[in-house]
Symmetry: C2
Subunit: 414 residues, 2 copies
């Protein structure tokens, strides 16, 4: 099946030169895909910190279980990602595959298996043979001979993505510039038989694993946990940050406590980068024709605001209305109502872009059907809802629901 | 827009003669629809008991608010339903419309406004003028001159339904046969701009309102609350039961307590009728091509089983897979995982029809792709999941997600 490229594919990609402390290798196993790479190895300097957040699925993949178990060590020497098989719901065989892969990588890298982090994306329930992957390690870990670019790295982890997803940021810490690079993949929570949203951030900043984990856990809520394509949660969703700390050699002070005042700028940059990456996943959502931002204010608290925003973002009726360029604010009322959070019907107000369509429990007196319809022709649609009961705020992002989504996920035989 | 009839439209409708204690009137207001009736009035004998369950939306329609408020009285003399405007999110004007309608009906019927129950289905957010509706009352309440059939009654409340939804049952209570008739409408939780699932059951059994309410609240969980088309909840969902009690005149004893041993048979019949009606709503789900039954066993408790079953039933990826006749059990694993309920990955088993596809945390050793694919060609698909952690059970019903759904809800400008 040929996938139609997303209309939101970026025209330019950021410049991403080598990043201190990280070396990239990509290879093709030939197992499923022909003519493209499907293995990524990122080798990391000794002393690299790691943090991660993972799917909340009760049936997580074997690599997710592995990463969660070894995160406590806080130290990473390599990341190995394979595309085409998720190694999910593969039972004890899946665990053996994970162990064999980590052991093989550790052996070549001169590290402990617990310092090897793994992610797999692809079909669920099919046994994953580690041999074709580990066979690439001698070449990929062989310092200097196999260096790949960050663009090639991002391409090697794609499955049904229609464009490559990267983002960059830089921060000045006490006069030393540190760099953050992010790569991600994902276009539905599960693309056709291809599980998983994966995101990886790499930085040369010298930040300890505890601080890194706190920042990641905080910012994931307003970035990757604030997007939805189809409300489905993969067995394999993985978001990790690796900090090589090599900027120390250029005089950058180590940041080991969250209370360190130098955390703030890095935290901002990480947050912005994660939000960029997350939005790029939605912009490649399966069948996307419109990008939708949904902001909710006036909720009882921020968590309530987010639940209402997600109720709107996940409503098939709201998403199909946007696809049809229909300013159907009645469906937004419906989605607010079903969220189960406190809302005051008689204070509820709804805006589409600059236009208030509803207020005080009824249609806005100045409502103009033609102006609202004109607005809906835009590629990016902003929906804003004021609930009128408190100070809670949230913004989430989603895409519309189109024939393209059905075609990708339904007109298909595995 | 011409709607394609559901492939599940019944070939035969049950025989529904007059039902003691109820008189039906239908009329056309001409406000939105041409050439069809859009008002239904059901006049009821004095002493009619009423019970009801309503949408849990935090933004319910004005008629829902009205019915909830007056349910406590337990007595009904009329039901008035209009199709085409939901009188939802219409502010204080909407409340005035409800009051004017109930007062006009009460006046003609010689009843109290609190004994008039109302339901509206259609567009959200547009003011509903009561005058065209109340103008029909003189004729519709005029005893004997305007009797409509139950089929006409069911047709008058349809919006985007592609077939009429009725069900019947009868029970012997101490040698006296009592009858139950049900009518319903609904094809999405919200059809294009047409809010609402409505269901009404009528019986001549002499059952007090407290007993009726207990039975309805119990059985709604395994019938109307066990179906989903698109996970969206209308502002107006209404399910009511009216018991005229006229079977007393034929010697049927009154049932006023739930502990009455004669309740059991009636309860069974009511449950079966509600389940029939609920399934008929799914079978007319927007764009339906397959009817899907999802049974979950081995959950921590029944409520957990239902949440897992609903997670599967609401998964766009499961629903598109069924539409594409793809035995994609990996998506069922995903939906089980995201439900958030206890599940033991290594004991999880999944059946599609008679075939076990997965067991013990991995693909079934006897899995046959071709046999599974053959099964998926059926019109009715049974998915069964065993979670392996407890005794909780639940069954829910849904339909697949097709291009038809997108066309109905998206290829559309209001």
């Amino acid at each position: 099946m040929e996938l139609k490229p997303s209309p939101f594919a970026p025209e330019d990609l950021p410049d991403m030169g080598p990043l201190d402390g990280f070396r990239l290798g990509v290879a093709s196993t030939g197992v499923k895909y022909q003519g493209r790479n499907d293995v990524l190895v990122v080798s990391m300097a000794e002393g690299t910190s790691v943090a991660g957040v993972f799917t909340k699925s009760k049936c997580p993949s074997a690599p997710v279980d592995w990463c969660k178990r070894h995160l406590a060590g806080g130290a990473a020497r390599a990341l190995v990602v394979n595309a085409s098989n998720a190694n999910a719901f593969t039972g004890s065989e899946g665990e053996k595959t994970v162990l064999a892969t980590a052991q093989a990588a550790a052996s070549v890298a001169g590290a402990q298996p617990s310092e090897i982090f793994l992610a797999s994306t692809g079909v669920i329930g099919e046994p994953l043979d580690p041999a074709p992957i580990t066979a690439t390690f001698d070449a990929l870990f062989d310092d200097g001979k196999t260096d790949a670019s960050w663009l090639e790295a991002a391409q090697a982890i794609m499955t049904t993505d229609t464009f490559v997803k990267v983002a960059t940021a830089s921060v000045d810490i006490d006069g030393v510039e540190v760099t953050l690079y992010g790569i991600a993949k994902g276009s539905g929570m599960i693309a056709p038989d291809m599980a998983t949203m994966l995101g990886f951030v790499f930085t040369d900043a010298p930040i300890g694993p505890e601080v890194l984990q706190k920042l990641l856990s905080e910012h994931v809520e307003t970035s990757f946990n604030a997007i939805t394509v189809d409300s489905d949660t993969s067995t394999s969703d993985t978001l990790m940050v690796f900090a090589s700390g090599t900027a120390k050699d250029r005089g950058c002070p180590e940041i080991l406590r969250k209370s360190d005042t130098r955390v703030a700028l890095f935290s901002q940059a990480l947050s912005a980068l994660l939000t960029d990456l997350a939005k790029s996943v939605v912009k490649d959502g399966e069948g996307v024709s419109k990008f939708i931002s949904i902001s909710v204010s006036g909720a009882a608290n921020d968590a309530a605001a987010k639940r209402v925003a997600m109720s709107i973002a996940n409503s098939p009726l709201v998403k199909t209305a946007v696809a049809g360029e229909d300013a159907n604010w009645g469906r937004v009322v419906m989605a607010v109502g079903k969220a189960g959070e406190a809302a005051d019907r008689d204070r509820l107000a709804i805006w589409f872009g600059p236009m208030r369509l509803a207020a005080n429990g009824q249609r806005d007196p100045d409502y103009s059907e033609s102006a609202a319809s004109e607005y809906m022709k835009n590629d990016e649609i902003d929906i804003r809802v004021e609930l009128g009961v408190g100070d809670g705020l949230a913004t989430v992002w989603t895409c519309d629901l189109t024939h393209g989504y059905i075609t990708i996920n339904g007109d298909y035989r595995s």
